[in-house]
């Protein structure tokens, strides 16, 4: 078993500074789901100089569109979606105080540069492990864009959400490091 660091939201800089690519962490606190359609609305809202549905400062966005909650359950399966679809929008949100993103798959160079510049972390949740991840969700509340269905913005209360640090603030990338180590 791997050693696991426990962290919480809001994400503070001193915690972010300690995180290294390849580490497993358990995240607790509140996070916000958003996929491409919600990101497009965030950016449109900012361009119109209006306020976002939640304050980005020190917060974490989860790239996720859960399956519907069955009766008696807080949420359905809720694994990550491919992060690269949000690459176009992420740097602007990071510059406004977003400190963490959870998803799967590689990020663009401009997102990585923004993470370094503004001290933000990219976490990987295990893709296709939506049932396991749902066990860490303690509350779920739609806070914006309900018309988007599975793409609405949901505030999730999480306890010990299992994640891996993919990009840390020192320019390390678990995808590149891992592949280099095991390529034959």
């Amino acid at each position: 078993m791997m050693e696991i660091r426990r962290i919480k939201t809001p994400l503070e800089d001193r915690v972010i500074e300690e995180l290294k690519s390849g580490e497993k962490v358990f995240l607790s606190g509140y996070i916000y789901t958003a996929r491409d359609a919600a990101h497009k609305r965030f950016v449109d809202t900012l361009n119109e100089r209006k306020t976002l549905p939640f304050d980005l400062e020190h917060q974490v966005i989860y790239y996720c569109g859960p399956s519907p909650s069955p009766p008696g359950k807080v949420i359905g399966a809720c694994g990550p979606t491919t992060s690269s679809r949000m690459d176009l929008y992420a740097p602007q949100l990071i510059s406004l105080g977003l400190k963490g993103m959870i998803g799967k798959g590689k990020r663009s160079q401009s997102v990585k540069d923004s993470m370094k510049q503004y001290k933000a972390i990219y976490f990987g949740a295990t893709g296709g492990a939506g049932a396991l991840l749902s066990k860490s969700v303690t509350s779920s509340e739609i806070i914006a864009y309900e018309d988007l269905g599975p793409e609405a913005v949901v505030k999730l209360g999480v306890k010990n959400l299992p994640l891996f640090v993919i990009n840390d603030i020192y320019g390390n990338d678990l995808y590149e490091m891992g592949m280099l180590q095991y390529k034959k």
Partner: protein, 279 residues
């Protein structure tokens, strides 16, 4: 002539899509367990352990293995001595899908390509039918997520590129996908036929049980060669680095035009959901 009412087809479809999305088949579960032993990377092993835990939780809690419960890919073989009555076959499949995705609390992931407006009930299903001898109806469902499907491609290679050209195309696609299609992946390769049959062959290749080799020994050898080269890429479980990038690689081949060399690659994620029923 055997009579089959569409209601039997509707309820079969409803049951199959719920079952496939919640209960990972033994064939895939066993392959993931074996993968934990084989994987060299500690992070990779940890990811695979999460996947085993995930499959168990989905089964116990009756929730989907993955929130992307896919487009409803359905293959139907209709015996030529069967008379389907009570309505249309295609309508029956779509009705079964509609009911499964509602009753099973499965995510509706089907939308208009331009406006991106959700169709609301995960229809239309992707339906492939085949007329075969006999008096049975065989239904195979393969709910397929978008993350892995996005890394498929059909390429009309030049015949002189041969086996090496085909292999480098497959490896190019696996590397391009990297962590995005949720490795450990399953790779389906369709070779020959024409533009559209190569794509269909690549999908059918994904439906071959893990560990089962092609009956043609030279194609079986090619499958193992591909698997070995894919696993040398270093991508590993979830792309975090490791020795197990693919659980298997399957090839389906048929003759093609003398001027052509069509090759299609279809990638499946580790949440390989497939179930079948015979009516």
């Amino acid at each position: 002539m055997r009579e089959v009412h569409v209601d039997d087809i509707i309820s079969a479809l409803e049951g199959l899509f719920i079952d496939a999305n919640i209960n990972l088949s033994d064939n895939v579960f066993d392959a993931l367990e074996k993968a934990i032993e084989e994987e060299a990377s500690p992070v990779g092993k940890e990811v695979l352990r999460e996947l085993i835990k995930n499959a168990n939780i989905a089964k116990e809690e009756k929730i989907p293995i993955c929130q992307d419960t896919g487009l409803a890919v359905t293959f139907i073989e209709v015996g030529q001595d069967v008379h389907i009555y009570g309505g249309g076959l295609i309508d029956a499949v779509n009705e079964g899908v509609r009911r499964a995705y509602k009753k099973g609390y499965l995510r509706k992931s089907c939308c208009d390509p331009f406006s991106r407006k959700n169709t609301g009930d995960n229809t239309p299903a992707i339906i492939h039918t085949k007329i075969v001898p006999g008096e049975r109806v065989k239904i195979v469902v393969l709910p397929k997520g978008g993350g892995s499907e996005n890394y498929g491609e059909v390429r009309m290679l030049v015949p002189s590129q041969g086996k090496e050209g085909m292999k480098s195309f497959v490896l190019e696609m696996v590397t391009k996908g990297g962590p995005n299609p949720c490795p450990p992946i399953i790779v389906g390769v369709g070779i020959g036929g024409n533009f559209e049959t190569s794509a269909l062959l690549s999908k059918e290749a994904l439906m071959v049980p893990l560990g089962k080799r092609n009956e043609d020994p030279s194609i079986a050898a090619l499958e193992l060669e591909l698997l070995e080269e894919i696993n040398r890429s270093g991508i590993g479980p979830q792309g975090y680095g490791g020795t197990l990038t693919a659980l298997d690689a399957h090839v389906k081949m048929m003759p093609c035009h003398i001027a052509s060399f069509p090759v299609a690659v279809n990638i499946q994620c580790h949440a390989h959901r497939i179930k079948e029923a015979i009516i």
